[in-house]
Symmetry: C2
Subunit: 609 residues, 2 copies
């Protein structure tokens, strides 16, 4: 059987940085060539970064992507890298296409270029366009209509892009009909908790359907709310895992494969089941003669991370890339002594280094002694820069001018803190981190323009019970490494409190977090209705109370800073709900709570604010 050495370049592009992204391709193609590879594949839309969202509809951007691709092909050959076949994702389009209502302007395509000998020798456009969850590709792209097969050293190589793998039919099924000896799939497949495992089984199954080895290259790194976790891999048609890259790290995975020799190429199409727009096959022949047999290298199979390490790695990656790609070098956050800000600080230190993290304690007259000492201890343990700014003088100035009581006075304290952090951000150029968790955000237990201030929210998609779990896990890892645990034990064990009035506890306003997170998982993640929750054994009063809080907090969630998506249903663009929404799963049960829009929690402003 003919051999090929393939390289999968698991890299981290930046959206819009055509020059930098092309530079990645040059660097990694050189590295692949140095390691003797005959083919190197880069992720989906590597050249533009991914996802580009509405930039796909801008003609000047499509033009720039196409020009950058042509320049890259020339530059590769110019640098002596013309012999290796390079598969690279880019944004294609037909700028001159007549406008048609409902068809994306300029007919953009999510495409893969095959570059060889200083030229783009073939192009493939993604056939299956995902339009669910975080994906809007029916808005942006026109589907491809051809399967692309390129003959390299006597092996027919077929190409597909991401969703093509997830949907039945289309390029994968047709690869078998086309007699492909290798299926290369380029991906921008975002992280979700537990998804990696599903991806591996999918790749195994699809390799079987294609009847040839499947090489899957994924992006790595953060892009706004998405985190790409890498985990590139190669599987045999019998399902055997041949090689795998680590998660959350750039990598160049090199694998030698024995592949079926190209057998002909007379099939031009095939039965593709229910697909309303079946593909035809395009063939390009680069070289018919198999390589002289050579000795294979032993491939790497990187282990999967365990669940906690994976989630922590996703948050660190998301934060690090958001800060860097937006041109910041440092972050500032408020340290309350509580667990959310402590874990956020530990993550920031892991992502950016202690000298780039500025923690500010912002005590009020309601802050307990242990809050102040726990914050100071965190600073000492992590080595971050630490400052104390008491807020009483500012709060008093407002209270002298305005008559504020209850909720309004509580929120005022949070807003004075937010204003202080933003002032430090503006003065010194740090990005502000919001420290709220997903449980709080679900029920609207936060203050807009107060603790919700910031450019990024690392724990936005992490429920409170997981905040504790991750904190314990991080401390345990430190001990295993012989380091001091970053998070003070007291921050983990004490009762959660917003400390906006004397003796306040979160449980004054919210159910116990364990119970709350269980209800939220059913209602938010699983989209189950109230009747199902009650049937599952939750008390009807609890269900009613929690669901009402969730239903009225949409505006606050929408205005919250972005954060790395961890769960299947985060609070970013994967979730789109109207602000004005009178639908209530449960009607108010008691006369004492007649107003479904009453503030649900103490430092809640009135919805939708």
């Amino acid at each position: 059987m003919p051999q090929l050495r393939i390289a999968l370049a698991q890299v981290d592009p930046t959206v819009g940085d055509l020059e930098g992204n092309a530079e990645h391709v040059l660097t990694q193609t050189r590295a692949a060539t140095d390691r003797g590879a005959h083919l190197v594949a880069f992720p989906e839309m590597q050249l533009t970064g991914y996802p580009v969202e509405d930039l796909a509809l801008r003609a000047s951007f499509v033009d720039a992507s196409r020009a950058a691709l042509d320049a890259l092909a020339v530059e590769l050959a110019g640098q002596g890298l013309g012999e290796i076949l390079v598969v690279v994702g880019y944004l294609d389009g037909s700028v001159g296409d007549a406008a048609r209502l409902g068809r994306p302007k300029g007919s953009p395509q999510n495409a893969a270029a095959l570059i060889h000998g200083g030229q783009v020798v073939a192009r493939y456009a993604k056939h299956h366009l995902p339009n669910y969850g975080v994906f809007d590709e029916a808005r942006y792209f026109v589907p491809g209509t051809h399967l692309q097969v390129v003959r390299l050293h006597g092996v027919d190589v077929a190409v597909a892009i991401c969703e093509d793998l997830w949907q039945d039919g289309g390029p994968v099924a047709l690869s078998r009909e086309a007699g492909a000896g290798l299926l290369v799939v380029i991906n921008g497949s975002p992280y979700e908790r537990g998804k990696n495992e599903g991806r591996v089984s999918l790749a195994r199954r699809r390799a079987g359907e294609a009847g040839c080895p499947l090489a899957y290259v994924n992006m790595v790194g953060g892009q706004d709310e998405l985190v790409f976790d890498g985990g590139s891999l190669v599987v045999a048609p019998d399902g055997e895992l041949l090689a795998r890259s680590p998660q959350f790290e750039a990598d160049l995975l090199v694998v030698d494969l024995d592949l079926a020799a190209a057998s002909g190429g007379d099939v031009e199409s095939a039965d593709q089941g229910e697909d309303p727009s079946p593909l035809t096959i395009n063939r390009t022949i680069l070289s018919e003669t198999p390589l002289t047999p050579y000795e294979s290298v032993k491939p790497v199979i990187a282990p999967h991370l365990e669940d906690r390490a994976e989630v922590y790695g996703a948050i660190v990656t998301g934060l690090r890339d958001y800060v860097r790609k937006n041109g910041f070098r440092s972050v500032v956050l408020g340290l309350s002594g509580g667990i959310d800000s402590a874990l956020t600080a530990a993550i920031a230190v892991d992502a950016l280094g202690a000298r780039n993290v500025y923690g500010v304690s912002l005590p009020s007259s309601y802050s307990s002694e242990h809050s102040k000492s726990d914050a100071a201890e965190l600073a000492e343990r992590t080595g971050l820069a630490y400052q104390v700014v008491p807020i009483a003088p500012m709060v008093d100035a407002f209270l002298a001018s305005l008559e504020l009581t209850g909720l309004a006075e509580e929120n005022l304290q949070a807003r004075v803190r937010g204003t202080t952090l933003m002032a430090l951000s503006n003065q010194h150029g740090h990005l502000v981190l919001a420290t709220g968790n997903k449980s709080e955000l679900s029920v609207g237990y936060s203050t807009m323009y107060g603790d919700a201030v910031g450019g990024f929210a690392p724990l936005k998609d992490v429920p409170k019970t997981d905040v504790w779990e991750l904190s314990r896990w991080r401390n345990r890892v430190a001990l295993e490494r012989g380091e001091a645990p970053p998070i003070p034990e007291a921050s983990i064990t004490k009762e959660p409190s917003a400390e906006l009035r004397p003796g306040q506890l979160d449980t004054d306003s919210l159910p116990d977090y364990k119970l709350l997170d269980d209800v939220l998982d059913d209602y938010v993640e699983q989209d189950r209705g109230s009747a199902e929750l009650v049937a599952d054994g939750f008390a009807p009063e609890l269900v009613e109370r929690v669901l009402r809080m969730v239903d009225i907090a949409e505006y606050k969630r929408r205005q919250y800073p972005p954060g790395p998506k961890i769960s299947v249903k985060g609070f970013g663009r994967d979730r789109r709900l109207p602000i004005t929404n009178r639908w209530r799963e449960v009607a108010p049960a008691t006369a004492s709570d007649p107003d479904p829009d009453a503030p649900a929690s103490p430092h809640h402003p009135l919805p939708p604010q």
Copy 2:
């Protein structure tokens, strides 16, 4: 020819308020019956409100919509309204449908029910699903596969929904083949400046294609960022406009039509061109015998509003409904003496009445005398509740605790104002209005958590030059009505200034607004590239300066409160751009401005904050 009297109920549903929306149907069906109508049509998704976004994917909500429809059918008959044919939009779905990746969960459909004699006698599901601009219907709905034709008093009535009208082929073309005597189109067609005219010509053309009169009923009222402007109408197949409802008002449009008699009904499908999923025809026969001839009523043809009145009406409608549907009764806003806050206040007074509008002057040590007197004069002219809260004590308290200079000090003042408005909101239950305009928002000339604070931003989609135009127009209307013009002349004529430092003017940081708005129209609305702008005659330095400001302000725009969509490209969900985006139309030209991410304007925090 058989006659029919049809009624188009131009009503304003609330998303999620199934009970209230059904009540609208009962009330208007009774009114239509009282006026002798044989058919009454309600807007797209009247029963659930529109758009419901991700609520469509929630099984309990789909169930509730279907149950509400059945209950409505029974209730109509119970109230003696079983004889009239009721066409009403609702959310349908198959809760038991097996999950399939990429297919919306539960296979929801954007459907129309035809109710008669206490039963749903037929159902039609929208065939063409828009997935561009503000629409995401490929995410939410499964397309319908049948054209529905119902024979009523010897006339074959076909039904279509909104986008079905805009796309070639499908239900409209098939209506002719099916021998329809009347095509009823139910709509949730949002307002855009100038769109109404296009809608009328489209309806005329489609009536010709269908070969029968076309009855178009649209929603009215605001839903989050969308405003539905009504303008329901009936056109003859020769293009004659037979009747039209006013814009921005609820209406019941009653029209008598002479229609072709049903001729058979043996065509079950027809050639539908390129459509990948052609429709088949479902027929339902309610009554074969034409009505005894009767005397027709003279239909109403309401005039179009002129451009300024239309834009102003859209903003008033959007604000009024956002406040009411979210359970607020009053609003609070900062009054600077400038034109943006003055126009916002005038709009709020028109929408909610002067006694529900609270204006707060928040002078600093940099505020000019005329700012304070202009704000007071506005309050006097409009009759809104007025209060003065000097911010110096609060600003001084921050400055005593933090060392702040330049931009940080300027932003601080805006944030003290924002915190003050939010405190008043929390204390008294008013919704805060943000007063920024589209030009400022385009270039990021605003302070997050400062002047960007609020639950709604009426001028979000109105460029500065239009702010002046609308102000002059509103004053002129007052004079024509013999009322005092609401907006002080000085607010219209003076130089715009943020007054965050001595002698500051907007033109210190921005081009002249006329020029700026011209560039923004080309770049943001028309999506033209920098090369095209320069070719159009704009100075390269100007193009570079404005485009850079626009490119780096995405985060601020995204965090801004919602506001009524006026233009083709607003700053709401019709625009989706990455925050992390290194794409720059133009590279920095001068060595003195080496950092493309430097703050673009004086009270700008660093991007992306």
